[in-house]
């Protein structure tokens, strides 16, 4: 079936089998391999993208569900001039990544949350409850937590 939506600010259209998930279509049809697949059952969060500004699991969405919506991926975080989003800078500065596989998902989770309510990072319990949405197996989360706070301040 033919499905149109907005991807990182540009209109796209794909012709795909109904069973194809948003994650697969972003990766395979639209080349957005920054959307990672770590579990494909909604737990790990590496595939997290923003749909109309809200963080969602791209692995648990059929592509048809985002028809006419706005999808934002890690590739859409950079400015048109290639400038990094403050979150991207902060993840590097704070050692919020090691292998980097979970990073795009955490970036989108936090981008969505900070856009909705930047104070979420001020309360450690709220921040941890938010970060508990996604899994990281390398960093012990300390750098991710610090990156979230740093990005809010910048």
């Amino acid at each position: 079936m033919r499905i149109g939506f907005t991807l990182d600010g540009r209109d796209v259209a794909v012709d795909v089998e109904p069973r194809r998930t948003l994650a697969d279509v972003l990766r395979d049809d639209l080349g957005q391999t920054g959307v990672h697949l770590g579990c494909e059952h909604g737990v790990c969060g590496t595939c997290t993208v923003l749909v109309d500004g809200e963080p969602v699991r791209a692995c648990l969405q059929l592509t048809a569900q985002v028809a006419r919506r706005h999808v934002r991926t890690v590739a859409g975080l950079e400015g048109p001039d290639g400038a990094l989003d403050p979150l991207q800078e902060a993840f590097s500065t704070e050692r919020g990544l090691q292998c980097g596989f979970c990073t795009p998902g955490f970036l989108m989770l936090l981008r969505g949350a900070l856009d909705e309510d930047p104070t979420v990072v001020d309360d450690p319990a709220r921040l941890d409850a938010l970060l508990a949405s996604n899994l990281c197996r390398c960093t012990g989360y300390e750098g991710i937590r610090n990156a979230a706070r740093r990005a809010r301040d910048s």
Binding site: E54, V56, R57, A129, A132
Partner: protein, 290 residues
């Protein structure tokens, strides 16, 4: 049997724009699956636990949206999401209970897509919404081409993944009773990590006059094949036994199954502790407020 698939099997997909279109589509294919938020459906499709020939995406059906509040009831359209309730879509003590409960469900990216009605349709034994539905005798509104019917939660929820929904039927809304302004509500949940399902979840709504409990709604998820209203525990409470007596009595209400990390005795014990704790919180809080 079995192997390890991760991509959904092939199916047709329709995206009806109206309720009638949705019901016609469901009527034409008795084995169709309904897609609302998809947070459970997609998991099961990926693992190919079933292979529906048709998926009916009801996300575009306007009639299923929104919350309707009247004097006695709150009607949650089938597309009301966890996050809507978390953000306070429902006023009053019922809204407080729904918001607190929503905060226990999975995590924000799931809550932004999963729906209250979908959770009931999936009937996971430990799903928080099923405990709410059981506790408050939620009325599940089902529609099909043949007509409408409404079932109380206790008749709708059958067991793990099993409900009274018939082929061709769609949950269009779930209706909950408005709770009085003085109703104290609370949730107690036990889980192993922030990423795990509830082991046991207890929801409570209690009205008191003085020290006397005059009305009680208790629902327990995770301690039986499906969530149950804890009638025996409520009786104990109404009889003046207090939280401890309710905790003792809840054993009659539940029927745990063994889990790899929790035997039946432990689960029974956890249910009792959670019942006592949530009631102590509500009743002590009540006294403090008084």
């Amino acid at each position: 049997m079995g192997w390890g698939p991760v991509k959904p099997p092939p199916f047709d997909l329709v995206q009806p724009g109206t309720l009638v279109e949705a019901l016609v589509a469901l009527d034409a294919e008795p084995d169709a699956a309904v897609l609302a938020g998809g947070q459970s459906l997609l998991q099961d499709l990926r693992w190919r636990r079933f292979a529906p020939p048709l998926v009916v995406d009801v996300g575009g059906v306007a009639e299923l949206r929104g919350v309707t509040v009247d004097d006695d009831t709150v009607r949650l359209g089938a597309l009301v999401r966890h996050v809507d309730l978390e953000r306070g879509a429902v006023p009053g003590p019922l809204g407080t209970l729904l918001a607190e409960t929503a905060g226990w469900i999975a995590h924000p990216p799931i809550r932004s897509r999963g729906t209250f009605a979908g959770s009931l349709a999936w009937a996971h034994p430990a799903a928080e919404w099923t405990a709410v539905a059981a506790a408050l005798d939620a009325q599940v509104e089902l529609a099909s081409r043949a007509g409408y019917r409404t079932l109380p939660a206790a008749e709708f929820l059958h067991g793990p993944g099993a409900t009274a929904r018939r082929p061709g039927e769609l949950i269009i809304a779930v209706t909950l009773p408005v709770l009085g302004e003085g109703t104290a509500t609370g949730v107690a949940e036990h889980r192993r990590t922030h990423a795990s399902f509830a082991h046991v979840a207890v929801v409570a709504a209690v009205d008191t006059e003085g020290d006397e409990v005059v009305r009680a709604h208790l629902g327990v998820a995770g301690a039986a094949p499906t969530a149950r209203r804890a009638h025996a525990a409520e009786e104990a409470l109404l009889d003046g036994g207090g939280p401890a007596a309710a905790a003792d009595a809840v054993g009659e209400d539940i029927d745990p199954v063994e889990h790899p990390h929790a035997d039946v005795d432990y689960t029974r014990h956890v249910a009792a502790v959670l019942v006592r704790r949530v009631l102590e919180r509500l009743l002590d809080g009540d006294r403090e407020a008084a």
